[in-house]
């Protein structure tokens, strides 16, 4: 085992709050709405800059999202920010009706999603959010992979006249965006070209997919890596091309596999059926840190690489028939 070079890891909440402060300076309509989550959303700096523009409704998520919709009706551009688990599970009908069905211009910011809360346990994990929210018509669902993408997604959502959900990670992630990257809603980003198999990853674990591609290269498998920052609407074209051109797909997410995995599967079977493996969370987690849990569920360099190898092997066997 060679020691990996030290990679700087960032908490995407820093990029989120810095972007929000910039937006706040440019646009008076920007407000934050929180559920006693100023600190956990890292909004203290925003609150210092704009003390009147933080609406803290206390521990009341239904009210929080409803108030957000009302602020939008009242001419504001609300960023409703809370731990992803509570925001989505507790205010699901408000997200469906007040945000999505009503097509209000409001941004829902799911903080510390996936298993970021680690040892705090499944009640605090937000592993269902991607599957849940992609099943709400009219809601754009974005999962940024690093600080660059986080800032750009926040900026894009601020001017998009419709409801958006953004997952903001606290787990340290390395930069994965190419130089000069510009986030485009609904568009996948090719991080690495390849022809044997495609790894489609989203959010915090894009870097793990890149690591897996390195591991696969070592054994002669040439993996394409796509970052899929938008889960809904999903980039069907990029998925179809990946299926056609590489003949197999592994999805990778810090969420139940009905999230990104489900979304990609639905495109693949309808456009160009190829073998897939869905790497992600498969159950309520045991106690453990987020890193331990990701490894536990196989959302790891080795787990992803093994899934890709299975696909390639099954294809080879099939070809030998």
């Amino acid at each position: 085992m060679t020691t990996a070079p030290e990679v700087a890891l960032s908490d995407c909440r820093d990029a989120w709050v810095d972007a929000l402060i910039e937006l706040g300076r440019e646009d008076e309509r920007i407000v934050a709405v929180v559920n006693d989550s100023v600190g956990s959303s890292k909004l203290n700096k925003f609150q210092d800059a704009f003390p009147d523009r933080v609406v803290n409704v206390g521990i009341a998520e239904q009210d929080m999202v409803g108030v957000g919709a009302g602020l939008a009706n009242g001419g504001k551009v609300p960023f409703v920010s809370a731990a992803a688990c509570f925001l989505t599970a507790r205010a699901m009908e408000q997200i469906k009706v007040d945000a999505a069905y009503s097509q209000h211009h409001m941004v829902l910011v799911g903080q510390s999603p996936g298993m970021a809360y680690g040892e705090l346990g499944p009640t605090h994990h937000s592993i269902e959010d991607l599957a849940w929210l992609r099943a709400i018509p009219g809601l754009t669902v974005i999962v940024p992979a690093d600080p660059t993408e986080t800032a750009q997604a926040v900026r894009w959502a601020a001017q998009h006249d419709g409801p958006v959900f953004i997952r903001v990670s606290r787990m340290g992630v390395p930069d994965v965006s190419p130089d000069g990257y510009e986030f485009q809603p609904g568009k996948a980003v090719t991080l690495r070209d390849g022809s044997d198999v495609t790894l489609i990853a989203t959010g915090t674990v894009v870097s793990r997919a890149l690591d897996a591609a390195d591991a696969l290269a070592e054994i002669g498998i040439d993996a394409r890596v796509l970052n899929m920052p938008t889960i809904a609407p999903i980039d069907s074209e990029a998925i179809e091309s990946a299926a056609r051109e590489t003949g197999g797909i592994v999805t990778v997410e810090e969420a139940l596999t009905a999230g990104l995995g489900g979304a990609v599967s639905e495109v693949v079977v309808q456009r160009h059926p190829v073998p897939m493996r869905l790497v992600g969370v498969t159950d309520f987690a045991p106690t453990g840190t987020v890193q331990w849990l990701l490894d536990h569920f196989g959302v790891s360099r080795d787990g992803i690489a093994a899934a890709a190898r299975e696909i390639v092997a099954s294809r080879r066997t099939a070809a030998e028939w």
């Binding site: 009210d63 001419g75 009503s102």
Partner: protein, 305 residues
């Protein structure tokens, strides 16, 4: 077969009376109290007449809770709200949100009476692709400020728009009507707490206190009493009023914002199905659909009311 069959009679749409109905407009400037009340009573009568025809023709609706709230809606739209078709783009316009969205037909009819929607369109109520579906949708009708239907959504939204008005020093007032059964939803108490603590004097919560919910009396389901005490403990300025008295309602709405600086909660004593003899205060009429005969009888009672 989308509602209990026994609640839906066989109706021949063409035989349902279909009164001409036109824009009625606001109480004229400078009207005396008496003139204003007469205007509103007349309007409410016409709105009720059109409403029951719509519900009967569609074979769907919530006539009981529509008749209990019509006097409130008519007083707001034709008298009290600083809001009219010409003000829809004005950020400082007053806002109105019907949180008990199941009374949509009453809202649509009132909006037509106030000139927001074409009275002819009322005939499309519940028809395929109509903008007038069973619950009001903001994406379909520009005068609808919030999409409602699931109970307990309108009040938090109203708190948000009131809060935005306060942040902007706007003259805007926000009125929201909830059902009484609806106050069993915790989301409302979250919102009331927020409204009270933010001292949103520009907010007025009107509770359609008809004492019935879908399946039974409120007190036999999960009672709200002592309701005024609850509201006061959550920071409201509480006013009680006869919810069918246009003159009294006008005064109450004119007092918003309250001098105390608190949000106003109006407990409007109403009756479901008011004023129809066979519907009033009768839980069966929550979403029962009137037959042709019942429509005629109701129209007859309305004419003589």
């Amino acid at each position: 077969m989308t509602v209990e069959e026994d609640l839906v009679p066989q109706v021949h749409v063409e035989d349902v009376p279909n009164d001409a109905f036109g824009v009625i407009g606001r109480v004229p400037e400078g009207a005396t109290d008496e003139e204003a009340v007469a205007h509103l009573r007349r309007a409410a009568r016409q709105v009720r007449a059109r409403d029951i025809q719509m519900v009967s023709a569609a074979g769907l609706g919530h006539i009981g809770g529509e008749y209990s709230v019509i006097d409130i809606l008519v007083t707001l739209y034709l008298n009290s709200l600083n809001m009219g078709p010409e003000l829809l783009g004005d950020p400082d316009r007053d806002r109105f949100i019907l949180s008990k969205g199941h009374a949509a037909a009453a809202l649509y009819t009132t909006l037509a009476a106030a000139g927001f929607i074409n009275p002819d369109d009322l005939g499309t109520f519940m028809q395929p692709k109509s903008m007038l579906n069973g619950h009001p949708a903001r994406t379909k009708i520009s005068a609808v400020e919030a999409s409602t239907g699931p109970l307990g959504h309108g009040l938090p939204i109203a708190v948000g728009t009131a809060l935005a008005g306060k942040l902007d020093d706007s003259s805007r007032r926000t009125f929201v009507v909830t059902g009484d059964g609806e106050l069993q939803e915790g989301s409302n108490w979250e919102a009331l707490m927020t409204a009270g603590n933010h001292r949103l004097a520009n907010l007025c919560v009107v509770i359609d206190r008809n004492r019935l919910q879908q399946g039974a009396r409120v007190e036999d389901t999960n009672d709200l009493e002592p309701l005024a005490d609850k509201l006061r403990a959550f920071g409201m300025e509480v006013v009680e009023v006869d919810g069918h008295d246009h003159g009294a309602l006008r005064k109450v709405f004119a007092n918003v914002p309250a001098a105390s600086g608190k949000p106003t909660a109006v407990i409007a004593r109403t009756q479901k199905g008011h004023p129809i003899s066979f519907m009033s205060d009768n839980v069966a009429w929550h979403h029962k659909v009137p037959s042709e005969e019942q429509v005629k009888a109701a129209l007859n009672e309305l004419e003589n009311s």
